[in-house]
Amino acid sequence: MQQLLAIRGTGLGGAIGRVGSAAIDCLRALADVRTWAPLIVAQMRRLGVDSVPIAIFIAVFTGIVLALLSSYTFTGAVPLYFVGSLVGKTIMMELGPVLTGMALAGRVGANIAAELGTMRVTEQVDALETLAYDTNAFLIVPRVLAGGIMFPIVTAFAVAVGVVSGWITAVNLLDLSTPEFFKGLRLFYQFKDVWFGLVKAGTFGLAVTLMGCLQGLRARGGAQGVGRAATRAVVLGCESILVLDAFWAIVLL
């Protein structure tokens, strides 16, 4: 929160105002399709496809730990097939989107802030403006849209991998069969579990990429300034994820 306040140095109102103003500028820049449309596929690949390995890595171990933890908690108290319920529900609704979001806040947020920060301190952003480009349309919109589109897709991969990982763990390390695991998985399943997680992931993607862009474009003072921008982008990205996570839980559950 301290970092959030430092965005403008005039308190939370100023920080929210700056982020809100940037979001409005981005919405206006959406009209400049000719500028951002050719750039979006490359950003989707960079921010999304290239992030799949780290998301899968996290999901594999999350699935393992969740299966073991739930077994440890349920043994002797609750039928063991509830392991499937807990693994599925938790990964789909919470850990899949949030852990993937956090990992991508580090990878994507820092990447964007460092790239745009370097462009800022080497006057490449000024050069773009003198060439009559709208920097919102050229730099921010394709990244933010790519984040909003790709975070749910990467999260969907992570959720699938996490559930499969939990199932393999349950079958191999716990006294649980495949039918029992899937019985538990189906027991409390609702379609809402899936879209709730994916909607959250979409907003995480928008927030993380917007923070990365804003911090990068605010970078000053050479390499040190770029480093600071990358750090702020990651911190603010993670904080945004937690705030949005609570927001969606209050609004949608």
């Binding site: 006057e123 490449q124 000024d126 050069a127 773009l128 403006e129 060439l131 009559a132």
Partner: protein
């Protein structure tokens, strides 16, 4: 014509420009001289609206730059080529792509764009460098690509920010020659900020010296060479020391 009228600009407590006024006539090359950190680049950035004055105004072709709407400012920028101090090439793009990026904002056919890329690279004598990345270029080549990117737009004005800084004397002379050639061939009005006197004498039609946030003296090359203003004399002669009493008291016959 570009007109600075009483422009003041501060960054925090650092007053960079303080009542800066200067008229840049059409079709000539005006050199703005000044010490490092004196605000030359800051003045230049006001012309394209990268900075907004705290006081005063910058007028380009009758339009007050900081009052322009977004679309109008973009239109103004289409008439101005800007050569940055460190070239500011987009480092993920090849030389050709760097030049193409600016041309893509003009209503040009693909054939015209390719023609202009070839033509501008030929003018800066980098015909074969189109496929190279900026990281593969020397400092002088990067500056020449920066110039090529600006002239490919066929602008009415070209702004050069420290075009010869950090270059060896031969490459610096090549850049000077290039600036003269660009003016002769395109007729564009040039504004050059530099502290390189050799370069200033080579390319300038008029020279203005920026000192303490304002124009200390402006005139033709001959007038500047013959100046009796101690501050200007010290600068153009590159003398390291000047008694403080003489700095604050301009000699007779000087002024913007």
């Amino acid at each position: 014509m570009i007109l600075f009228e009483g422009v003041s600009k501060a960054f925090g407590s650092n007053q960079v420009l303080d009542g800066f006024s200067l008229e840049i006539p059409h079709g000539q090359t005006t050199v703005i001289l000044g010490y490092s950190g004196s605000g030359k680049s800051v003045a230049l950035k006001h012309i394209v609206g990268l900075l907004t004055p705290d006081e005063g105004r910058v007028v380009v072709d009758g339009s007050v730059v900081h009052e322009l709407k977004r679309d109008e400012l973009a239109e103004l920028r289409r008439s101005i080529g800007y050569v940055f101090q460190f070239a500011a090439l987009f480092d993920s793009m090849t030389v050709e792509e760097n030049i193409r990026l600016g041309l893509a904002r003009r209503d040009l056919s693909p054939a015209e764009i390719e023609e202009r890329i070839v033509e501008s690279l030929r003018l800066v004598e980098l015909d074969d460098a189109g496929r190279l990345l900026p990281a593969e270029l020397s400092g002088g080549m990067r500056k020449r690509v920066g110039i090529a990117r600006a002239i490919a737009l066929r602008p009415r004005y070209i702004l050069y920010d420290e075009p010869t800084t950090g270059l060896d004397p031969v490459t610096a002379a090549l850049i000077d020659h290039l600036m003269i050639r660009v003016r002769q061939e395109s007729g564009a009005t040039g504004v050059v900020v530099t502290h390189d006197m050799r370069s200033a004498y080579s390319v300038a039609d008029r020279i203005a010296m920026l000192y303490d946030g304002a124009i200390r003296q402006a005139g033709s090359v001959e007038e500047i060479r013959a100046t009796r203003d101690p501050v200007v004399r010290q600068f153009i002669e590159g003398r390291p020391n000047l008694p403080s009493a003489t700095v604050s008291a301009p000699g007779p016959g000087v002024g913007p």
